[in-house]
């Protein structure tokens, strides 16, 4: 059976309940659903953040996410997968990203969600610009995100 996969990059907010419902409605083979939502915080390293603006590489972002979704499907016995990444200007409290994974058992759902988030943080072509009181700067990549992504690399 084909596993239902949703990948969207959008300005609009998402509705977690609706996305979970879309993944699970009418199914009785799903025992575990993990959702990860990433949210815009109001401060970073003790500096207030007024807003984040997210830029992406259209075409490449979708293709790269699809490639990593396919990788997740080959690694774990999943019964459904959703990745939604917002772009544009977001203020503290706004949703940024949603990853949903469904499986018969919890470990596959947890692992696949962590794998996809580690990928999105370190290697998906998105860039964040922060607006603070003292101006606006591009967020620097974190070494810890590279390390988190590297733990999934195959030998």
């Amino acid at each position: 059976m084909t596993v239902p996969v949703t990948i969207r990059i959008q300005d609009a907010d998402f509705d977690i309940a609706r996305e979970i419902e879309a993944l699970t409605r009418g199914r009785t083979d799903i025992g575990a659903v993990v959702s990860f939502s990433g949210i815009c915080r109001g401060s970073e390293a003790d500096q207030d953040i007024a807003a984040l603006t997210l830029e992406h590489y259209p075409g490449m972002a979708e293709a790269e996410i699809q490639r990593h979704v396919d990788d997740a499907l080959s690694r774990w016995p999943l019964t459904g997968l959703t990745v939604i990444h917002r772009v544009g200007r977001l203020v503290p409290g706004d949703n940024i990203v949603l990853v949903l994974t469904a499986s018969a058992h919890r470990q596959a759902a947890f692992s696949a969600a962590e794998f996809l988030m580690d990928y999105l943080k370190a290697n998906a072509p998105f860039w964040k610009r922060e607006e603070r009181a003292d101006g606006s700067t591009w967020v620097e990549a974190h070494h810890r995100d590279d390390e988190a992504a590297a733990r999934w690399e195959k030998n």
Binding site: K121, W138, A141
Partner: protein
């Protein structure tokens, strides 16, 4: 060939995309960065630390030693900060 720029690379150059015709000696992604950096102060600023610049050819991440032969679209951008 089409070249795209994102995030602060785009801001420094002042362009989101352009079409360039590099000379014949420009064979790799690294060569292309070196050549682009000579095209003006904005470019020199954008590519001042080439080691930090990431590149993709036709939507696939590539290293600086990758050949640009046959590429339709090459993109340059800083390390990604999505999620």
């Amino acid at each position: 060939m089409k070249v795209k720029y994102f995030a602060w690379v785009r801001e420094r150059i002042g362009l989101a995309e352009e079409t360039v015709e590099p000379p014949a000696g420009v064979r790799t992604v690294g060569d292309l960065i070196d050549w682009l950096a000579t095209r003006g102060d904005e470019y020199a600023h954008a590519f001042e630390t080439p080691g930090v610049i990431r590149a993709a050819i036709d939507h696939t991440h590539v290293k600086p030693d990758m050949t640009i032969a046959g590429a339709r679209e090459i993109a340059f951008f800083p390390p990604m900060t999505g999620g």
